[in-house]
């Protein structure tokens, strides 16, 4: 039933994030293979958008590079489809709502399912606005992953628990991706409040940029997402694919080592 069951069976899960199409889709494809090799349990692929409200400068710039390289939503889906049967790690698309709405919700759900996408995260589509879309995804067999934040009120946590599919993405700070403010200071209370209402696995993400922070976060939940820190490597070594893959692999392996129970 749970498409991500396996990912959380082997202990704390590592969920690396890269922006699809940064610097080009061919590199992203190689990154997925490298990340799987390094022990990633679920891989998140960002779908670039011109106006990413929840992202900090690092992922904004990655999206800009991807768009300048001509990346489109259909291009991303096609790349994922090409990985079907090649990787066994579940792939999750993370992207803003407008490109999906523009593509057509039904068509997107169908094509995502067909490409082998396991889950979809849409940060600007809360469950109340996304009732139709999340329903369509479910019918196609793709999990709509919901998010919660440190300040989420109990009534929203209850609703999230009732609707959650796959896992729930807990934002680990009050802010945007890649923010260096440090994780939420009452993290234990926060995760306890979420666990009271949510039974699917929980992952923490936003601002987790080092093996140390990953270990700290992983102690509380079932998995951690690391995005900006990996995207920064793509920014730095994107012109040299071999070097990039080595850097990302070794960073992912260090993260994986740090979060082992």
């Amino acid at each position: 039933m749970n498409r991500f069951g396996k990912a959380f069976e082997k202990g704390r899960a590592l969920l690396p994030f890269v922006t699809a199409g940064d610097p080009d889709l061919e590199t992203t494809r190689s990154l997925v293979l490298a990340l799987e090799e390094a022990g990633a349990d679920i891989i998140e692929l960002g779908v670039p958008f011109s106006d990413p409200q929840a992202d900090g400068p690092v992922i904004q710039a990655a999206g800009q590079r991807a768009l300048e390289a001509g990346t489109t939503l259909s291009g991303v889906l096609e790349m994922v489809r090409s990985l079907r049967g090649v990787v066994s790690t579940p792939l999750v698309l993370m992207g803003y709502y407008n490109p999906i709405l523009n593509y057509g919700e039904d068509r997107f759900a169908r094509d995502a399912a067909e490409a082998g996408v396991a889950g979809v995260i849409v940060p600007d589509l809360p469950f109340d606005e996304g009732e139709d879309f999340y329903g369509v995804l479910e019918r196609e067999g793709v999990d709509g992953i919901l998010m919660v934040a440190p300040n989420s009120e109990e009534k929203r946590l209850i609703e999230t628990g009732r609707r959650a599919k796959g896992f729930v993405y807990c934002v680990s700070l009050m802010g945007i991706t890649g923010q260096e403010s440090g994780l939420y200071d009452r993290m234990g209370d926060y995760i306890d409040r979420v666990k009271k209402h949510v039974t699917v696995p929980l992952v923490l993400g936003f601002g987790i940029d080092s093996p140390e922070r990953a270990a700290k976060a992983a102690a509380l939940v079932d998995g951690v997402v690391v995005g900006s820190a990996i995207v920064r490597l793509v920014e730095r070594f994107g012109h040299d694919r071999k070097r990039l893959l080595n850097e990302v692999k070794s960073f992912a392996a260090r993260l994986k080592g740090a979060i082992k129970p």
Partner: protein, 395 residues
């Protein structure tokens, strides 16, 4: 669909979870304040004694004579303190911020009028104020940047994307996500997630409420046609809203056609856009085939926005309001004509509405009553217009 926060399927609340508590707190507080007589009295006092309301409804006799058709009245929002209608909303929302116990306000700004209005309200109430402004707009509207600094606000340059209003809005939202507990975000137009479009409309409807009284006093009847420019659409909603149920009152919203809609360089969201989701609500948008937002273009920095308020999308689809567009050239010609015929220099934004009346008035019978919303004054635009005037653009 009559879901909360929706206008016939447009609107909603498409935001990250972190913003939900703040939007709900704002909604609850606002529901109380809109019926709270002490709040309404305080706002009314400020609008009267501080901003100079009511603004006049002025009969533009020379313009009327020149065009030779409908009788043209101008609603003089340019005579507000700070020079535009934006202060109506800034004062109202600053009062909300105080009632919510928030000590800091943030705002996005394009032309700088909303930024100046917020900086003014912040100074008046001793609030800390931070205004996000695209680097390109800071260059185009340097005077307003200086005004904001003088008023004690911090102006944050935004260098992402197109470096204009849409990017300033993204940055303001990002900042708000990270500081939502002590900060109130004053959105400057009838856009954004619910309840913003309703709050901004309620603070701007004073324009239409006054117009209604004033035209009845002057002419003994309701107007036949209302005209206003539409970027996000707050001055237009403000004028239109109190007349929406008066079926005999025709309404026209005027968008910026920039260099011409067929050139792709324009800001005519309703005339040439498609439905999508940007900045928290579902409405018409300028977007490409892949759903990426297209940069808008207009000579007027205040209309240079690729979205539009959700209520406008609903008013267009129902046919209640007609939406047209005028080009940079037509707006500049109107800017110049109104200056010379009436001694009133209109903002380039408002000049779009004036340009439309220049086209429409001659086709209407004498005695037809038209009200044009003169949403702001044009001193800030002299530099943008100078090259055109040297070229000899005329109406």
């Amino acid at each position: 669909m009559s879901k909360k926060g929706y206008y016939a399927g447009f609107g909603g609340r498409f935001v990250p979870e972190t913003l939900f508590p703040a939007l709900e707190e704002l909604e609850t507080a606002y529901e109380k304040l809109r019926c709270d007589s002490s709040f309404q009295e305080e706002l009314k006092g400020l609008l009267t004694k501080y901003s100079g309301r009511p603004t006049p409804l002025y009969f533009a006799g020379r313009l009327t004579g020149h065009l030779g058709g409908a009788k043209i009245y101008l609603k003089r929002e340019d005579l507000n303190h700070t020079g535009a209608h934006k202060i109506n909303n800034a004062l109202g929302q600053a009062l909300i911020a105080i009632r919510l116990g928030k000590k800091r306000i943030i705002a996005e700004t394009g032309a700088g009028q909303h930024g100046v209005a917020c900086a003014t309200a912040a100074a008046r109430f001793g609030l800390e104020c931070r205004v996000f402004m695209g680097e390109e707009d800071m260059r185009r509207q340097a005077l307003n940047v200086d005004r904001m600094l003088l008023l004690g606000a911090e102006v944050v340059p935004v260098s992402s994307g197109s470096r204009t209003l849409k990017d300033a809005t993204n940055e303001a939202i990002r900042h708000w996500v990270a500081h939502v507990e002590d900060t109130h975000y004053i959105i400057g137009s009838v856009v954004g997630p619910h309840p913003y479009p309703a709050i901004v409309r309620d603070f701007q409807r004073v324009i239409g409420d006054e117009t209604r009284e004033q035209i009845i006093e002057a002419e003994g009847r309701l107007p036949d046609l209302l005209m206003a420019c539409v970027g996000g659409g707050s001055n237009a909603i403000g004028l239109f809203h109190p007349f929406v149920d008066d079926a005999a009152v025709r309404m026209m919203g005027v968008e910026a056609a920039g260099k011409g809609i067929d050139t792709g360089q324009h800001a005519a969201t309703l005339s040439a856009g498609r439905v999508g989701v940007l900045h928290g609500s579902r409405s018409y948008l300028l977007q490409d085939d892949d759903g990426q937002i297209i940069e808008a273009y207009s000579i007027s920095a205040g209309l240079d926005y690729p979205g539009v308020g959700p209520e406008h999308s609903a008013l267009m689809e129902s046919g209640r309001v007609e939406y047209t567009s005028v080009t940079d050239r037509e707006a500049v010609a109107a800017f110049s004509l109104l200056s010379r015929l009436e001694g009133i220099i209109p903002a380039l934004e408002s000049s779009h509405a004036v340009a439309q009346v220049i086209k429409t008035a001659p086709t209407l019978p004498r005695g037809t009553l038209v009200v044009v919303n003169l949403s702001g004054r044009g001193d800030k635009d002299i530099n943008s217009v100078r090259p055109w005037l040297l070229e000899g653009v005329e109406a």
